[in-house]
């Protein structure tokens, strides 16, 4: 992750290509389903693909208003202990996962989730956390926690979740 942040945009193309080696594709499990030869061949991803590292939720979820990516003052207060823990345990890493509610364009929702993750990231940076300890990802509307379709469900889904690897306990 550090490499990306330190490199200028000019070298971007080369690095992007280098990072996607053919290894990525061959690691997948290419078992075929019961499909006749010559038809579409399926790929089935086993559970082994999921991250093998032990991840745990930090226990803080940040919520957002409709179409918005502003971290409230109350949520900033909740993030302070996390920032302190990350500064105390410099080997711990944090994944900031941004989400959106399930309505509207799915790719635009990935963008909204990204902005929300970035907003939380910015708060933690401002509190002194090192960028090298943090990673951002957006799931857009793809991983709702509330399956309903009313305002309450949408409110629960507009969120950032925080996952840490490595101990951050005192």
């Amino acid at each position: 992750m550090k490499r990306w942040q330190q490199v200028g945009f000019g070298a971007l193309a080369v690095l992007v290509l280098a990072a996607c080696s053919s290894k990525e594709a061959t690691r997948s499990d290419n078992s075929t389903s019961d499909v006749p030869a010559g038809e579409v061949r399926a790929m089935v991803m086993g559970d082994g693909w999921s991250s093998a590292k032990a991840e745990a939720s930090v226990g803080v979820t940040v919520h957002f208003a409709f179409d918005d990516a502003t971290v409230t003052a109350a949520d900033r207060v909740l993030l302070r202990p996390l920032a302190n823990a990350l500064m105390a345990h410099t080997k711990a890493r944090l994944r900031i996962e941004g989400h959106a509610d399930t309505r509207g364009s799915r790719e635009y929702n990935v963008g909204l989730g990204w902005r929300r993750a970035k907003a939380v990231y910015a708060v933690l940076i401002a509190m002194g956390v090192s960028a090298s300890q943090m990673e951002m990802v957006s799931y857009g509307a793809e991983k709702p926690v509330a399956m309903g379709h009313d305002a309450a469900a949408h409110q629960q889904n507009r969120r950032v979740e925080l996952m840490h690897e490595g101990s951050i306990d005192a």
């Binding site: 061949r41 991803m45 990935v110 990204w114």
Partner: protein, 431 residues
């Protein structure tokens, strides 16, 4: 209707019948062309009837035809009487033919599409299309779709899309953890085949212009990467795995490059990836969310969604000059642009206070016309003949697919499945 579909599939498809997309028309049929469909004369009457039902279903579900299906082939002696009757009932044309068994499970199928009017003394019916084909039993369904294509083109002037396919994502939430499936099926829902099964989300499938591969976003490994997968072999390669977002793939019409979204600049921006050299070029800049690139048919401009003006709207980027300008002005939310093949209009997802709807935007004027009522709608995709829009919708708790004609006259709902169905994408014309 369901039992008839099962008989049909047993006779024609050697694939087991899945829950087929039985389309229920939700809006009326005006100006439909009235035709008569006579089962082809054959010693294999069951096969001939099944063939006729595929053609009937194709034509009826397009919303363009009012099909009168006769019970059995025409008796030669009775034909002139029948023609008179059909003319009196204002039927325009009749489709009939023969299906000869050749042995070895092969058939020679001859079709006659005739104009009921415009005949002369010598030739009471004016022939429109007369063709002959040979097919195996397994190939009869595809041949029926091809016959429907020919009837459609002859009588409406548009190319038929009965032989095209759709890809879509299904999410099965009945298990402990959701399972995500990318699948491809015929446009009528038959022959569904799984392309990818994954414990992590799959998004934004899109067809390569040659119809032989799909690009998509997969979150295997916990973050989104762009893949291209060959449909015949199942082989795939990673197109992009930059940190952050790798999203919204869109092949250029010439298949040489792909537009996509990356967040490596810090914000989601459009990039162009040369599929041969793998060189990457940044197309848009700044701090907004730019996403959903969609190529104009001439490949010279790219429509996209951006909130650079404060709310998500459609913009067009001129590829040569690099300049973008806004295209949508109605309301505060327009996304998911998909240009029609003639390039003069876009299908978009429009939102206002009551919800989301599929709408048409006239490119020269910016005028917006809703095609559906407002609800929980997303992901429109346009048929390659520019006549139909397939999109994702919700009915109660079920996520399913619906179709609407571009002129808004005909709307139909595909039946709900056990799994949520989302993100449909219509194939180009195939083969």
């Amino acid at each position: 209707m369901r039992w008839q579909w099962l008989v049909l599939s047993a006779l024609i498809c050697f694939m087991p019948a899945h829950a087929v997309l039985d389309l229920s028309l939700t809006r009326g049929l005006l100006n439909a062309v009235p035709i008569v469909l006579v089962p082809f004369a054959s010693t294999d009457t069951e096969q001939a009837k099944a063939f006729a039902r595929v053609v009937q279903s194709d034509l009826v579900h397009s919303g363009c035809f009012d099909v009168q299906l006769e019970k059995s082939p025409l008796d030669e002696a009775a034909s002139p009487v029948m023609w008179q009757q059909w003319r009196a009932n204002k039927r325009n044309a009749v489709l009939s033919g023969r299906m000869e068994t050749l042995g070895d499970d092969r058939y020679r199928v001859t079709m006659h599409l005739d104009d009921l009017f415009g005949g002369t003394g010598h030739q009471p019916l004016r022939p429109l299309v007369t063709r002959s084909f040979e097919a195996s039993k397994q190939g009869l369904r595809a041949l029926a779709h091809h016959v429907s294509d020919m009837v459609h083109e002859q009588l409406t002037g548009d190319r038929g899309v009965y032989s095209t396919k759709v890809a879509y994502v299904m999410v099965d939430r009945h298990l402990k953890a959701p399972q995500y499936i990318l699948a491809v099926s015929d446009v009528d829902g038959y022959n569904e085949q799984v392309v990818l099964r994954s414990p992590e989300p799959i998004m934004s499938p899109t067809w390569r212009p040659d119809g032989k591969a799909l690009a998509y976003v997969s979150f295997e490994g916990k973050r989104g990467r762009l893949y291209e997968q060959d449909l015949a072999t199942g082989k795939r390669m990673v197109l992009s795995c930059a940190p952050g977002i790798n999203g919204a793939p869109a092949y250029a019409p010439d298949g040489q490059s792909m537009a996509l979204v990356l967040s490596v600049s810090g914000y989601p921006k459009l990039y162009s990836l040369n599929l041969h050299t793998r060189a990457l070029k940044q197309l848009t800049h700044g701090w907004s969310i730019d996403t959903e690139p969609a190529w104009a048919p001439d490949g010279r401009s790219l429509y996209f969604t951006s909130n650079r003006g404060g709310s998500p709207q459609i913009y067009r980027l001129d590829v040569t000059s690099g300049h973008s300008h806004r295209v949508s002005y109605a309301g505060r939310y327009n996304t998911s642009a998909k240009p029609l093949p003639d390039g003069r209009a876009l299908v978009v997802l429009h939102r206002d206070a009551q919800g989301y709807a599929v709408a048409l935007v006239d490119v020269p004027t910016g005028r917006l016309t809703p095609l559906t009522t407002l609800g929980d709608t997303q992901s429109p995709t346009v048929s390659p003949n520019g006549r139909m829009v397939l999109f994702a919708s919700r009915l109660g708790d079920r996520a399913l697919l619906e179709m609407v004609s571009v002129d808004g006259r005909v709307q139909m709902r595909l039946p709900a499945r056990a799994a949520d169905v989302q993100e449909p994408t219509w194939s180009p014309f195939l083969g």
